[in-house]
Structure formats: structure tokens, C-alpha cells
Subunit: 680 residues, 2 copies
Amino acid sequence: MRTSLLKMSLVALGMVISTGAFAAEDLMATVESPGKVLKVSLQVAPDGRLSYQVERNGQPVIAPSRLGFVLASDKPLDAGFAMERHLVTAHDSTWEQPWGERRTVRNHYSQLRVDVHQKKDGRRLAIVFRVFDDGVGFRYEFPKQANNRAMHIADELTEFVVAQPATAWWQQAGEVWALEYPIQKTPLREVGMANTPMTVRMENGTHIAFHEAALVDYASMWLRRVEGQRLRAHLTPSANGAPVVRTGSFTTPWRTMQIAGDAAGLYMSDLVLNLNEPNKLGDVSWVKPSKYVGVWWDMHLETKTWAAGDRLGATTDYTKRYIDFAAKNGFRGVLVEGWNPGWDSDWAGNGADMDFTRSNPRFDLPALAAYGKARGVHIIGHHETGGNIAHYEKQLDAALRLYAKNGVDSVKTGYVTDGGAAQFMGKNGKVHFGYTDSQEGVRHYQKVVEDAARYKIAINTHEPVKDTGLRRTYPNWISREGARGVEYNAWGNPVNSVEHEANLVFTRMLSGPLDYTPGILSLEGKDKKPFNSTQAKQLANFVVIYSPVVMAADLIEHYDRYPGAFKFIRDVPTDWDDTRVLHGAVGEYATIARKDRNSSAWYVGSVTDGNARTLDLPLSFLDAGKSYVAEIYRDGDKADYRSERRFDLVIEKRTVTSADTIRMVLAPGGGQAIRLVPAG
Amino acid sequence: MRTSLLKMSLVALGMVISTGAFAAEDLMATVESPGKVLKVSLQVAPDGRLSYQVERNGQPVIAPSRLGFVLASDKPLDAGFAMERHLVTAHDSTWEQPWGERRTVRNHYSQLRVDVHQKKDGRRLAIVFRVFDDGVGFRYEFPKQANNRAMHIADELTEFVVAQPATAWWQQAGEVWALEYPIQKTPLREVGMANTPMTVRMENGTHIAFHEAALVDYASMWLRRVEGQRLRAHLTPSANGAPVVRTGSFTTPWRTMQIAGDAAGLYMSDLVLNLNEPNKLGDVSWVKPSKYVGVWWDMHLETKTWAAGDRLGATTDYTKRYIDFAAKNGFRGVLVEGWNPGWDSDWAGNGADMDFTRSNPRFDLPALAAYGKARGVHIIGHHETGGNIAHYEKQLDAALRLYAKNGVDSVKTGYVTDGGAAQFMGKNGKVHFGYTDSQEGVRHYQKVVEDAARYKIAINTHEPVKDTGLRRTYPNWISREGARGVEYNAWGNPVNSVEHEANLVFTRMLSGPLDYTPGILSLEGKDKKPFNSTQAKQLANFVVIYSPVVMAADLIEHYDRYPGAFKFIRDVPTDWDDTRVLHGAVGEYATIARKDRNSSAWYVGSVTDGNARTLDLPLSFLDAGKSYVAEIYRDGDKADYRSERRFDLVIEKRTVTSADTIRMVLAPGGGQAIRLVPAG
């Protein structure tokens, strides 16, 4: 069933192209992707500066772009380089995901490794490109320094010059909590500093998503537009000195560009996962993709509280109601926020009173764990740190032990900092404040995941560092937030934009799973304010926005009110055998079909922005010659997210085959969800 | 004559507007400029965030813009504020510059001081606005922290939201040596990260120049465009930790906006100087505005070298030729680069071999000093550090002493880092690399100026931190580079653009004097490559580009070749009683008239970009009823910077009065210089 990573095949072909006898040859090294779609060249300029460029089908995608570093500990590594040797190798393998959007991932690339050294003082560096048909990743490899001196990286000079006028979908960086900023669309020339993934569409229709893979012990990369269409890596600042300090030999994260002819191609790329290291945890059958419900939406509606008092949500009685509901409807987990002491004071951005080792007096953790166990339901743990990492790390081991003892095998963590920065313990024993995506933040998040793995606990990080595919290496890093979630639809000021999901699929979702908390069938937030969705779109989001752990976020009583719609939520799985993007335009619409990993059923989700759309869905992904019952959850003919008709949901059944096409009509702000189950 | 700062008059009127009885009043404080041209408001939002806005004649110039800080040592200072009190006072005084563009400066503003505190934890901050009719400066005042804890400022949140679509003239920041990057013109929405001064012109014609004043013990401010027309302060990173670390009570530099209806108005503003502290040096009669020549252009043409060898420039014999020339033509100084040991190795970005305490074997400093003294000529000292500040500071005192002993009262310093960063000595005794405009760079440059003052030596900093008006406080900080100088016209690749001076006047020159090294009458650089100027423009630059110390940069033999043109260079002074901008459009043209501080003569310089222009120059600035001889140095009728006609210079004399208008015809890439001397 869910096996650990299985290397299913491997064809590796190494071809060494040694440096030639002619000096001219040493100034350029080139590699093509396996299907000759992409071509990457690295050049050494007369002054020894390094640059690279990327072509797709002979057309420039990335114009010559700089490489190098400014150091705080030494002279810059930016010029005076000579190419020492370059080596092109080929790689083709497939591996299996323990959980994911698809079971089998092909890792097929050509690699160019270029070793350079500075003629003046002999310092060395290597740049390694992996070129896939659907994108490029490259990273730097630093050797161990003389006397094992620490390398203090002040600035990474890596640039990405987009070769044609382009439109960008991007999110501000350089802010605390910027991962929850709205995604905006502007000409690329108007980007300031962006988080990644940032997606651009060039005038010729080529799409590029810039991101990074395997962000380990390094500062997160923002992209700062220097001028024109020239983007430069900007390392998240550190409170302690240079953004990155490393000792010994090390590699940077991979700088990645997924490159495709359309938006769908971006989402279909597995490049970021492929550039991560294989599973380090061995057997991870204890990591359970599943759905859950939670004592959560109440708090966002402000009908319950996290803090003690009359309206406390995390009580034994109230939790039992959710366990009963979960058991009845096939949810594996129940999240309960506010279960522990520490919420009564001003916790956000502080977190100093949080106690992760015992529960509040009205929440009987062992009793609830036992009550759940008897019904096949697991309590989902919760660690809200208030961004006080220094405080959290002190209790982390005991906190995990408590959960493990009570059968809690999945924990949601949170780092709500109330506009501030996280608190870290310095080497000097003093607490300091810094970005969560700084090098020390990156280390912390990984430490939690590794520590949790020892207790066979999965981690779902909220207010996280961005996802860079580390779920491949640590499959217990089951999901995370790092986007404007559905909670904004509870709070308002403002609610999420109507194109939000169509943006997410082709930007944020390229990085990995999102614990989006979909399924608010009541379609209203605090003070009964509506938000930008039809009921059909709420269902579609379960397929469109991927996460192996998904919270059906609405209140029990709301699900009881809409049993028809709720059936889809009960049915839809969270682990997939395969995934196809059938329609997509960034920020406009997206249709995704996914095959259940544990049955023959397919599920389709389609979402649109504020425009109504008619999309033809050919069912050619179904097994040929087989009949399927299509359970269609569609917008009513007059449905519209701007009126009470947002609740108009039509549920229909049809028998179909792979030769059929379903004409999907999406309302403004609407969507469609389809379950396709083999007939008979 | 040249007195120290003299407070000529002072009318100060303090009017306290205490916080009212109504809470609503506490959410807003407002102040108008003395002539009611500008109005500034500070608001406190319901969540305690602070913002300010600026109107000019009732029209928004700066839309509501955020204030605050992110700290590395504590929670952010960005929200939760309440207004404690605000105080509006008026100030009107005049003061005298020991040297400058004008003798008398009026300092006339309304001040709004707002004291705020964070309700939650009682932390305090004050924001002080000084509102002039021609601009606004504001700064933050930090009280001493509890237990005198150090304040580590990770990020300054100060924003500047330009209220209308605007065009920007800007220079990239975030680079070593960025002050020498070309000035580019783009929509403001396409700015990345800019140095200051950055000048923008809004659609309604209002011009704003963003800059800072009194940059002392703080990181230099870059402006990062966050999105749209929203700019944010970006503090130059430090290699040691937070960009700014301060203990005790302190103030930030003033964040300044010069605001005017046209480009000329920007240049006429004395706001930056007014926001600096008065002269701290007392009698500065030893600071001598003057012209000089130098053993310098030869090296840039590569006909001489800095390093030892056949072509060494800094020899006793060659220097004597320059002293003789200077004496004959009334130049006070002779700069000699390469006079000291250390140039033979790979000095740029290294500088470890530089010896500032003795001269090279072929350069007899005492003999040359005596030779000059007998002829009224001073050797101008030179300290090229190669950016090795750690090394330079060790020798600084001895180096200054050597110069003082030899009558050298003016030193040009240099920080050529070969693309790298400067080297600083850390507290741990280890050298590290960092930006010259980091807090420690700022400290270093000021230390050199203060140390030099003790030896009555003036400093002309090349590869400097940007000028923020500290010449008022330290009048021996006589000039600096910090722009693409004329040396680029020697090097090529590329030469300076034809609109460069018309850009400089309304951007870089708003910060202070520029040692531009004008007057290359030969109009060609290395390998006899021409650059973008007529000969008349070379003369005009002496008036247009202000510096109290000006190097006539061409070779002696070239001046001998053009005695007519050279007469203007001999005549033109470098210290002014008054300055008027008569025409100006950013990057297009500028005409500046200046009155000699030591005679009744006026000088006019006018420059254009690549377009020919006819500009009428009304002479109304002259004393009424007096006759003047106008010595006009104009482009010939067919002059053009793109052909050999660039040498076409016509020298004419006319008698004029203040009632006359001179029609100036500037050739493409041309200029005009006029000397107006009372007749008889």
C-alpha cells in the first residue's frame, strides 16, 4: 500500500565532456533537456563573471543572468572565475510518493555540473544545473573553506532575466506574514519584491514559475526586481548578521524555474519534488492522509473562544460532539484549538504563557483520546506558539511525548505573531526577533518535523516557511498553510478575492499542499457576511486545492443543513493516484481531475473567477470501455456568488464513459465538483 | 569674510496644542508650512498604526503612508500606538554658510512633534515633522531604553506613497558602488530599489525629491518600491546583524521630500542643509574653496600609471610642471594620485599594501610642498584605501599628521573596491566585508572628516557614502564624488549619457557638492574616443555642477591648446554668494546663474541633453541700473556633440544690463557659459 520511497527504475548515463584544448571552449558550457525542449548555457565573461541563460524550443526564456555571491566574510564570489571543467550527465528514474498528487513520479533530466575557480585566489565553486523538459533547477556547491572557516553570505547575486515582456502573479515579500498577502497581477516590470512561487506569463504564452527546492539550513529566497525584467535573489535577512552562515561544504537550495507552454503545464511539473532528497524517514505508513473536522470555525466566527470563559470551544463535551460527528461521517480526525493553557493572556506575538504539556481544566485529553479511539477518530494536536520559537523549543520534546502517549499522530502548529516577527533564542542566551523564513526560522521548522518524526507524528505547519518540496524528504511534513486561507472569509476586511483559488493553483500550489480549510457550505463569515463563492465552488475546492490532510471547516450544524452537498465532502478522498490539469488560466479558472489512490474513482474540481464559464470536460482520463456514474455537483442555472443564488446547487447523476464530454457551466464565482465511480 | 556660522536672526514662536478632551482629537495631528503651501497630517489608526500624509496647495502629494520599525531586539514598533501629545511650533532664522551655493540660508518651517506610546507595553517614540514651503523632513526620536538596552533596528517601515502617477529619475541601489550607476528614467511603478536623492514628477507637474538629511550613526536609506507607487525605506544591510544598532536616546536621519512645482524649485530648496546641525567645528577659515589641477587624467587615459614604472605619474618633476601651471593660472591646488607606496600590487578592493605615511621614492613630498608654497600652490593629498577601511583607520592619524606637517590642507580619499565591498575591522578583531553605506561605513566616513578637522584638513571623499548635508555640521567635508564622474568619459564602455548633467542637477546635486572633474576641452577619452559634449558644455559644467573644490581635469597641454576656452576656467570661482535656477527640466536642460562670493560678477551655465535648445535668459538677477560685460562662451552655429563640430566654440562679448535678455542657443549635447562682470 503506502510504501516508503521505492526506486522503481534508474537509467543513469554519465558522459564526461572534459575541457577542450581551446580556451574558447572554456567560456561556455551547454546542456539540453532530455526531450530537447529546454537548453541551458553557462558563460564565463572576459572578466570572469558567470551567467546562464535558458531557451525553450529555441526561443529565449531567461536572457543572460548573473550568478555569484557577496560575502561578509571574504571578498565577493562574483567575478574572476575560470571554468575548470564541466560534466554533462543524464538521469532517468521513477519513484513512488507515500502520499501525493500522484503515486509515481518520473525524475528525468540532464545535468550540467560546472566547476569554476577564481584565478586570483583559487577559491572554488560549482554550479549544477538539472534541466528537465518542464523546467530548470540549479544550485551552487561550496567546498569546505580553508581552516573550515565559516562562510557568511551577505547577498546572493543570482538573477533571473525574463526574456520577453511578461505579466506576473505575485505576492509581496519583505514582510512578516507576507505569505498571507493577496496575490496580485501586474506587468512584471511593476513587481517590487516577491515571494516565491511567482508565476509569469511571457508575451508568447510561455509560463515560468520561479521558486526554490530543498530549502535547508539557508535563508528563504525572495525575488527583488532590480530593473526592467531583471529579478534577483534576495535572501531573507537575519537578525544576527549575514543572512546565511554555513561551515563545511554545503549546497544552496535549488533555484527553480518551471517552464511550460501554458498554466496547466506548470502544475503538472514535479520538478520541485524531484530536486529534493528522497525520504529520510524510512517506513512512513504512520503518516495518514485523511479528512478532519475541528473546533475552529466557531472561533473565527467569534461564537466560541480560544481563551477560557463561557464560550470556550475546547471543552470535553463540545469535542465529543465533533468526535461523534467525525465517526458518523468517516472523518479520521478532530482538531481542537485552545485545548491547552496560555490563551488567556495576550498570546499572539508573545506566546510566553503557552503550555504545550497539559490541557486546560475543561479538556480531558486522555479521555477524549480514548473516546475517539473507540470510534476510530483521532484527536489532532495543536501547538500555537505565538511565534515564540525560543519558548516552544524548550517544551517541544515533552509536548510531542504527551501527544504520542495519547495517540495523537498529527499536529497542527501555528506561529501567529500579531504583525511582529518570531522570537528566537540566540547563542548568547538572549531572545531576539527575526523573520520566520530566515535561516534560523528554516532550521526551526525542520527541527520540529524531525523531532515529530521520532514520535511518528505528522506536522501541518501554519504560518510556516514556504514549502520547497521537503515533504519528499520528510513525508511527515504533511501539509502547511502559507497562503490566505478560508479563515479570511470569516474575518472579512477583506474576504478572499473571487479569483483566489484560480490564482492559488498556479502560484502557491506549485510549492506543495495547502491546508486551506475548505467546505464552508454556509457561505458566510462573521456577522453573517457573505464571501465570494457559490456552494458548488466550496465542493470543487476539495479537489482543486490539494492537501493530504483536509479540514472540512464548517460547523456541524451547517453540514447537517446541507446533506446533499455534504455527501461530496464525505466521499472525496485526500490521497491520489494521479492528477491531471484539464483547464487552466492563471487567476481565471482551473479544472483538475484526480484519481483516488484507494479506489477506481476519479474526482474533478473546477473553479472560476468572477466570470461565468462553460468548459468542456472530455472524460478521456477514465478507463476506456468502462461505465462510470458521474455524480455532478454544479452551480444552479441562476447561481451567482454576488447574490443569495450562491446557494443554488444542482446535484445530478449521469452514466458516462471515457468517450463522453461533460459540458460544465460555472456560475460567476462558481465551480463544479464531480465524482466518477465505476458503475455497478 | 568667511565667518563661521552666524545666526543672523531668529524668530521662534512656540504654540502648544495640547491633546484635547475628546478622544477623536488624539487620532490626528496636522501642521501647515509657514506659507500654507504644504500641509502634513499624522494619523493614528484604530489599531494604533501610524501614518502621515502630505498635501500641496490642497492636492495630495503623499497619500497616507506608514511609519514604524521592525526590531531585532524587541517586538515591532509598528502598531498599538496612542498619541500622547502633539506640539506645533514655528521657526524662522537665517544662517550663513562658510562656503556654498549661497551665503545666507533661511530656515523657515513649522514643526509638529508628536509623542506616541504603545498602550500595551508603554514603549515610547516621537515623530518630528519640519514643514517648509518647499518640502518636508521628518525623523523619529527614540528615548533611552530600559536598562540602556541596545535597540537593534531590523527594518524601518517608513513609507512614501506618491499620490499621483509619476515619472521617476532614479539609480539602482542594493549594489556596491551603485552611486556610480547611470540615472534612469522610468514610470515610478517600474522602480525597483533606488538610491536617494530620487526625483519624481507627478502627472500634475509637482516634483518631489526623496532623500535624507543628517545621516549620522545610522544605515543609509534606500527606497524600495513595494507595489504601485508605494516606496519604503530600506536600510543598508549590515554584515554584523541588524542594519542599525544604537544605545541610549537617539534620532534617525531626517527623511526628506523636497516638493516644488517645477524642477528648478527642487534645486532652490535648502531643506537638506537646514535639517542638519549647525557647524560643530567653529572657525573654519582654513577650509578653502578653490580650483585645482591634477596628475590624474593621464592615468585615466592610461598614458601615465599610478603604479611604479616608466609611466609613473606621481614624480617630483612631473608634479612641478603642474605646480608651475597652477601658479601661472591661479589654481590653488595640485592633486597627485599615486604619490604613496601600495599601488603596485592588486590594490583595488584590497588596499592592504597602501602606505599613507610616506611617499614613493620618486615623489619628494616636502620638497614639492615647499616648491608649491613658494608659488602659492598647495599639494592636495590623496588616500586611496582600496576599500580597506580596517587598514586605513590604523594609519589615519599618522597619515593626516604627515600631510599637516607639509601644508597639505585638503585630501581626496578613495574607496575603490573592484566590485566588492569595503573591509571593516570587527569588534572581534576579524576583518569583515560590508557596504560603505552601512552604519559602520557611515561612521567611518564621519570619523575621517572629524579626525581631519583636528588637523585643519578638508576632505573630498570619492566612492563616498551619499551626501546628506553634513557639510553644514562639518564644513571641512568640502566635496565628494558619489556619481558617475567625468572619468567615465575617459574609460568609455559606456561614456556618460548626453543628458547626464541635466539629470545630475535635479537628482544627485540635490544632496550636495560633486567633485565632477569638469573641463575636458580635448573632448576625448582613452584611445581618442569622443564623448557626449561640446566644448561650450564643458565650460558650462563649472557653473552647473556645484563644488567648492573643482578640478580642471584636462591635461596641461590641452589647456594650452585652447586658451580662449581656458580663460573661462581660469576666471570661474567656486564659492558663491547666491544661486538661481533659471531654466530646468529633469534630464533635459538646466540653466543656473551664480554670483561670485568675492566679487560682483555673475556666472551662468546652461546645459542641454541631445536636443538643441533656444533659451531666453532674462538678466534680471543683475543689479539694476548697472552695466555688465557679458563674456559669452557659446556653441558655434553648427556645433553638435555627434561630430567634430563639438569643438565649435564662439566667444563673444556684449554689454548688458538687468533689463536685457540673452537668447542662448545650445547645440545638441551643448551648453553655454557666461561671465558677467560689472563694466568699467
